[in-house]
Symmetry: C2
Subunit: 483 residues, 2 copies
């Protein structure tokens, strides 16, 4: 079954002359193509052949940008594409789109790939393998989940399908305003709510928890809740979706929850979250973590496998504050993984030490950010902590356009070590979370944070930066809590 | 000569019952009044009497906000005042405005103060003394420097005088556009240039150096130069002002430089920089540093003096990266000093560990930031270093309104330790310097910076944050430079 070319290479590799080695990359988005590109920068085609398989039509695109394209802020789909298949091929990467890898054979150092158009399959040998299979949206097995008009937005192909639905909806004659139901109120959920508002939909967001943005503590999520309502987004918490009703044409028409409530919908967007796409890795016996992501070492090499690397949304990363691995699908990590893997597969040295859990997002003018541990995470990690929440303007109070922001800080009891930060506020708030991200990485105490020399001028910050104000309050809380 | 009340207290202090101690504060702005307020929070009037002397009319105001008030962005002068004399008095602080301390007598634990309106003087005893005398604008002794229409903008009284001149100018009938000359192109100079443009002046900025913003390296200053010209601000470098010409009414009418050039001016603003106002401290034999600022220990106590603290623009602060003291007048430091001093004088414990030299500013839409060492500073500190300069958008490139920013990073040769960062760019650029400020404080290498988990989403950052892109390039530069 071995493809001809693969077999030849395999034989050559056992020969006496220095052979061209083959790198096979599974997955053509951020992690996979960053790895391929970095490897290509370090090794020319004579030393390293690179074959990359991608199931979809697109490569190296910004999945995180999809909501802004759907919402009309980004004009063209192709604006989201950093490097097209043609551009990769021009750099001597043998990129095969619409080709899905359907089996890994680590013992045989080969992968089986299927051409999705012709259906034909063949094995390809590798000397080094990179798995960058990404994540897939959680799709609960509910009646109607497969109906027309029900969409995930994980890949650019998903986005294209949603866009086609929205355009078709727009062309349909009908009376009254169009309605969208977004299931899930995490990053994708709230960003899609904004996008659909931008397309003049009446938007209802259904979510299981008490508050939207479960990546924040509920008190901070509550602020997001109020702000979303203020923007005209209807939010329904503690809502468990049980089925999707369809019309005579098989199109979704309403979402039904456990309590029997029906939410009419011309379009349904699933933003329930994603899970690592690791069925192949699991079948091949590769080590998976508690969230189902592939486990790697610090150089992004799959644990126990000398010749396999993995990165991006299909792996678990080390949470440096909680001391455990987590699944954190995020383009910025995927790109870093790709860089590290590309160096590694080309014989260089680089590592990805882990993350502190930083994430930023926005719904219309409301910015949302977090880093480190939430209260729940800290408890799960066995930590005792104090919290401090403050509100402040994010420029000098007298400066025109000063926006309000709320900052919540977690610090370890006794040591005062910073454990986490959450921000909900107006424009200019979210990226201030980076200060805490660096301080967390450095293991600073909140007392050290108070003394940080942050940029001050009236258009940029009050004289006490809001993060420092939170730290001051946290210092007091640590002292009061005692040992 | 001891004021009656003071004498009584001094006697009481030697008595056997537990006496009320007296804290005397010299200077009623950020550092002084923060110290007084913090001390008052910790100790009630029965334990600690607080007397504060202020030469001017105002207390606890934002001097950094003056350019925005002058420029019309901030409506009212009083918007800049965080706490008025009356508010301080309501908190049991005996605040005496328009009263200048004219002599310190550390041996006698007393200060001599003059009522600026009546001219009367008296001595006041202290148990603890806080010096917060601030800074004064450098005023070269040039012909015409004292003319009407020549203004500094260091205090709110200065700002009020300038505002009065501008209002008078506005009322004067004249043909043609009004012209302003700003001498100096540091933070105050560029902010005042923006302010005067906001008041519809034709603005010329004269400065000694090759480029504006000497707090940046000249290559980065050059970007500010071009941008200012693009805003219609005329900039003249290598310009040494020799005199100011006046009209028959004693009003400034032109600024003359060494080369004989004349720059017509209806108003002249001095933004040449400031120096610590420490004549009193010097006369009293207190220790001063190389920039003329008072030297303190880490608790902001004046070195060698158990009962005297100093903070704000009159002290030198430890530059943690260069390993030397510097004079860095900045409201944010002054407020921190005040907090630390207020704790200290009340018997508590707090320290100000030093600074890394962070500063942010803007001219119209151009943002400017720096932290750590410039090339010149690094050389002066005896460090060998590499530099890396990159340009990037500050959001995802495809996100609407993405602004360009240039980032320059300095790293120590061999160790790769981060030494400094400079940013010049569009809206949303400047505060990113905080990431480097924290990393500098933590002593991170540029390799560690590359791995930082910074907030990413398309509206906030490209997938590789610009600071990380600079760090990647710096890593390469460190490697290439070798040992």
């Amino acid at each position: 079954m071995d493809g001809g070319e693969g077999a030849v290479r395999a034989m050559t590799a056992t020969g006496t002359t220095k052979a061209t080695e083959r790198l096979v990359v599974v997955g053509g988005d951020a992690a996979g193509m960053s790895a391929a590109s970095q490897a290509r920068r370090l090794k020319g085609p004579a030393e390293l052949e690179i074959v990359a398989f991608e199931r979809g039509h697109f490569t190296s695109y910004s999945a995180c940008g999809i909501p802004y394209w759907i919402g009309g802020l980004v004009g063209e789909r192709d604006d989201l594409i950093a490097r097209s298949p043609e551009e990769h091929r021009a750099r001597h990467i043998d990129l095969r789109t619409r080709t899905e890898v359907v089996e890994l054979d680590p013992a045989g150092s080969r992968v089986r790939a299927r051409d999705l158009d012709s259906g034909s399959e063949s094995w390809t040998h590798y000397d080094r393998l990179v798995l960058a299979t990404g994540a897939r949206p959680v799709r609960p097995r509910l009646p109607g989940i497969g109906a027309h008009g029900v969409h995930g937005v994980q890949t650019l192909d998903d986005g294209q399908r949603l866009m086609t639905t929205l355009d078709r909806e727009k062309a349909r004659e009908r009376t009254g305003r169009r309605r969208a139901v977004v299931v899930g109120a995490g990053y994708i959920g709230v960003e899609m709510a904004e996008a659909l508002i931008g397309r003049d939909y009446e938007v209802t967001v259904l979510y299981r928890g008490e508050q939207p943005m479960a990546t924040l503590d509920p008190d901070m999520g509550g602020l997001v809740h109020s702000a979303m309502n203020g923007m005209g987004i209807r939010t329904v918490g503690r809502a468990e979706v049980t089925k999707i009703l369809t019309d005579d044409h098989g199109r979704a028409r309403a979402v039904v929850t456990e309590t029997g409530e029906e939410y009419e919908a011309d379009v349904v967007v699933l933003g329930i979250g994603v899970e690592p796409r690791t069925a192949l890795a699991r079948a091949a016996g590769l080590p998976l973590g508690p969230s189902g992501g592939i486990l790697t070492d610090l150089s992004m090499r799959v644990r126990g496998h000398e010749d396999i690397w993995a990165g991006g949304d299909c792996v678990e990363v080390m949470d440096l504050i909680a001391g455990r691995t987590r699944h954190i699908p995020l383009g910025t990590h995927a790109n870093k993984h790709g860089q590290v893997i590309g160096s590694g597969v080309a014989g260089g040295y680089a590592t990805f030490p882990g993350v502190v859990g930083t994430a930023v997002s926005k719904v219309c003018d409301l910015e949302i950010a977090r880093t480190g541990l939430r209260e729940r995470d800290a408890r799960e990690a066995g930590l005792r902590f104090v919290t401090a929440t403050i509100s402040s303007t994010n420029t000098a109070g007298y400066y025109p356009g000063a926006a309000q922001m709320t900052v919540k800080m977690l610090a370890e009891q006794r040591t005062g070590r910073l454990l986490g930060l959450q921000i909900v506020g107006g424009p200019g708030s979210a990226k201030r979370v980076d200060v805490a991200a660096v301080a967390l990485t450095a293991g600073m105490t909140v007392e050290q944070v108070v003394s940080l020399d942050l940029g001050y001028a009236p258009p940029f910050s009050p004289v006490w930066d809001p993060v420092l104000v939170a730290a001051r309050k946290a210092v007091t809380a640590v002292r009061s809590a005692g040992a």
